[in-house]
């Protein structure tokens, strides 16, 4: 009852014309940022931070939050249309989204991504509103051993990310792990595989890697194939812009599971959209009756991850607003923005600034509706883009990719890296090695390593620590069983 009352109060703030306007500006910029590959929400928010000095703190946060979840909507667009992840959390959407587009179902893929995002965003907000404080306390129970167990479970999904050989997937996972080790290690701060290149001290940037492996390699494949790829000759029927009833039936479970999973992973520091989307994909494939359809345009492979990354954005607000602990880089930026406005996120935020907490929550409801209204009419337009001749289209894509990879850290070196990974990615595809397991291991690698080493530091080297703590023990056992089952087809002699 109290919650409803507070929410009504929140809406009375969120619906003020000024806040509506900033919410709209935020989600609009967010959508654009999501659509443009490489220029992620982190870059956009830090560019716009100075602008917000002149606004009220509430309007500032409403706008900046809008950019964040807006980007999660927009991020799917280029993943589906041109196989270039608009931001890191949309990497997995490339797998099935792009295949759907190739089959002429770009509209359905974009549609299910938008609806899934909307449903997940709304569910995530309900979670944020109802359970913010108990969840934040629960998240603190996760120490290094628990994190390690959850991340290890995530890592076993490497074997489900690939449509082809399990062995090849594990090899790619191992390669991803190795790439993630480049730079200073998180415990000793000693450089690894930096080859005396100062730029490698901080490791390889995810955007350069993902855009290179997925986007640039796709452009290369298309240039090689012909000047007129089949995709562009597809007749676009108006009716096919939106998901059909059959699509909905297939996707509904994925959306719900993705929402719950994404929300919880968002709450845990270090998790966030990227991990959530990968895990959702792995789980959907595992649960699916036709796992062989994944990677060939399964709608669940778009619906699950896209829902998960949006729910994760809502989840990430939990530790920020209740504990003052930013769960990821975007939250750290919002934390900075609040501090600049004289508001400290943390235990005092809700009692001292109820207007801010409930105002932001209500604005996120409003923003999600705006995004849906904004994105659905755009789908036919995005699909039209595919009709642009490829010889004009691909230089533009390359330009955006280069700009995007530059803008992450303002350094030229990342553009070279991206190009290099583009070529490597092209070779991978020629030899039928898939990039998705590599990226998953790359994302999880540093976290797995840090938490493993932290756990072992705490236990003075004893691996028993993982089996004496209940959450860790159950999770790890589950992971080991899952890992074992992925080899069952081998034992049966079926080479899959």
């Amino acid at each position: 009852m109290d919650t409803i009352h507070s929410l009504m109060y929140g809406f009375s703030i969120g619906l003020q014309p000024e806040n509506l306007l900033f919410c709209f500006i935020g989600v609009l910029i967010g959508t654009l940022v999501g659509v443009l590959p490489g220029i992620g929400p982190i870059g956009a928010i830090s560019l716009l931070l100075p602008v917000t000095f002149r606004m009220s703190p509430l309007s500032a946060i409403i706008m900046l939050a809008g950019i964040y979840y807006g980007a999660m909507y927009g991020g799917s667009t280029t993943s589906i249309l041109v196989r270039i992840p608009g931001e890191a959390a949309s990497v997995v959407t490339c797998l099935d989204g792009y295949q759907m587009a190739k089959k002429g179902r770009a509209g359905a893929a974009l549609g299910i991504a938008a609806f899934g995002s909307f449903i997940a965003g709304t569910l995530g907000l309900v979670g944020l509103m109802l359970f913010a404080e108990p969840l934040a306390r629960f998240a603190l129970k996760f120490g290094p051993p628990e994190y390690f167990a959850v991340l290890f479970l995530g890592l076993t999904l490497v074997t489900f990310l690939s449509g082809g050989s399990v062995i090849k997937a594990i090899m790619m996972g191992a390669f991803g792990f190795i790439l993630s080790c480049v730079g200073l290690d998180s415990i000793q701060a000693s450089p690894r595989m930096t080859f005396n290149v100062l730029y490698l001290w901080d490791g390889i940037d995810l955007v350069s890697l993902a855009v290179g492996l997925f986007g640039i390699s796709e452009v290369l494949i298309n240039i090689e194939g012909s000047a007129k790829p089949e995709l562009l000759e597809m007749k676009m029927k108006l009716g096919s812009f939106f998901p059909t009833l059959a699509d909905w039936i297939k996707a509904k479970g994925a959306i719900l599971r993705g929402s719950v999973l994404g929300f919880f992973l968002g709450v845990l520091p270090g998790g966030g959209g990227v991990v959530a989307s990968f895990l959702s994909y792995g789980i959907e494939k595992r649960l699916s009756k036709e796992p062989e359809q994944f990677g060939k345009g399964a709608i669940e492979g778009v619906a699950g991850p896209e829902s998960a990354n949006n729910a994760a954005t809502a989840g990430a607000f939990v530790p920020l607003l209740t504990l003052g602990i930013p769960a990821n880089a975007v939250m750290a930026l919002l934390y900075g923005a609040l501090v600049l406005h004289g508001i400290r996120p943390g235990p005092f935020l809700i009692p001292q600034h109820p207007d801010l907490f409930w105002g932001v929550i209500s604005s996120m409801y409003i923003g999600n509706v705006m995004l849906l209204v904004l994105n659905l009419p755009l789908i036919p337009m995005w699909v039209q883009i595919l009709k642009i001749p490829y010889r004009i289209f691909f230089p533009l894509i390359l330009l955006f990719c280069l700009m995007g990879s530059y803008s992450v850290n303002n350094r030229t070196f990342d553009m070279f890296l991206m190009t290099l990974f583009g070529i490597i990615g092209y070779l991978f595809r020629k030899f039928e090695y898939e990039s998705a397991p590599l990226l998953l291991a790359f994302v999880l690698g540093p976290m797995v390593e840090a938490n493993l080493r932290q756990s072992l530091l705490i236990s003075k080297g004893s691996f028993l620590i993982f089996f004496t703590r209940p959450i860790a023990a159950v999770t790890l056992t589950l992971a080991l069983i899952l890992l074992a089952t992925s080899f069952v087809p081998y034992l049966k002699g079926k080479n899959r």
Partner: protein, 324 residues
Amino acid sequence: MRSKICALIVVIISILFFSTQPAAAQSYPTRPLEIVSPYTPGSSFDIVARVIAETGSKYFGQPMVVVNKPGAGGSLAAGDVISSRPDGYKVLESAQVFFATTIKTQKVPFDADDVVPLANFVEMRLGMAVKGDSPYKTFDDLINYAKKNPGQLKWSHTGRGITLHMSAMLIFKRAGVTTIDVPYKGTPEALAALLGGHVDAGSLVLGAVSDQVKAGKVRFLMFYTDKRFKDYPNVPTALELGYPDAVLPTYIGLYVHKNTPENIKKKLADVCKKIYDDPEFKKGIERLGEEPKFGGPEFIKAAIKKQEEIGIPILKEIGLYVGK
């Protein structure tokens, strides 16, 4: 929508173009200045840089823009300023700790002397903290526990080789106890480990956790300083507790390329003083929970020297020193 994208492209291209335009040499500054900040957006360093930039724009008559070049403990930002034209349009934000010790753990293609200090703005407040409901009421309680349980006391910090790590290491060493240090990526993670009870103590930045302190969730047992802070009169200092060499402050200041023309250096130094004296600047820093502290080039040089004397032996001891 398409026109919006086009507009954005134009904006981005013009930003890229503008930032590479050659300097007009007449009356400095004729175009925006950049503060190159060594940590990610949202970090304490970033916020300090933004507060400086906000006030600085007023006195330069040109916008000051914060550019984040995070990485390698500050070396990428330093390298960026050192490799750019010495025309006074790029200013480095850094800490004396970086020049004294961090850089000595890395093989970097430049010298610490390639930039010169302009002014110091902030002293970060660092100390050893426990959870609010922890049984250890004083630092002695913590040490007694560690003495009774050798090698059991766990404490979090945010990276080996930085001040937070070195001060605490030194204190435990001097106290004659063996402990387990658990490194985390940043203050948020180190704080979460403390609040969740995964470590017994944390070597933390006060500014980043001051709200938890006010809420009683985190309690500082000591600050690594020689003087008590006015707003925390009950927390003893490392000096009082008998660890004088653990007093390793972190000062955040601005630096500029050593070949910058003297008149421009002077203008920059003058404006730095004006920024510091502006009440708006102080208000911004206090909001952040840090301590404003002014000092000229000599002050920073002395601080670097002191940090070198204490820090380098520790680096050698923990095997991180590569020299320079």
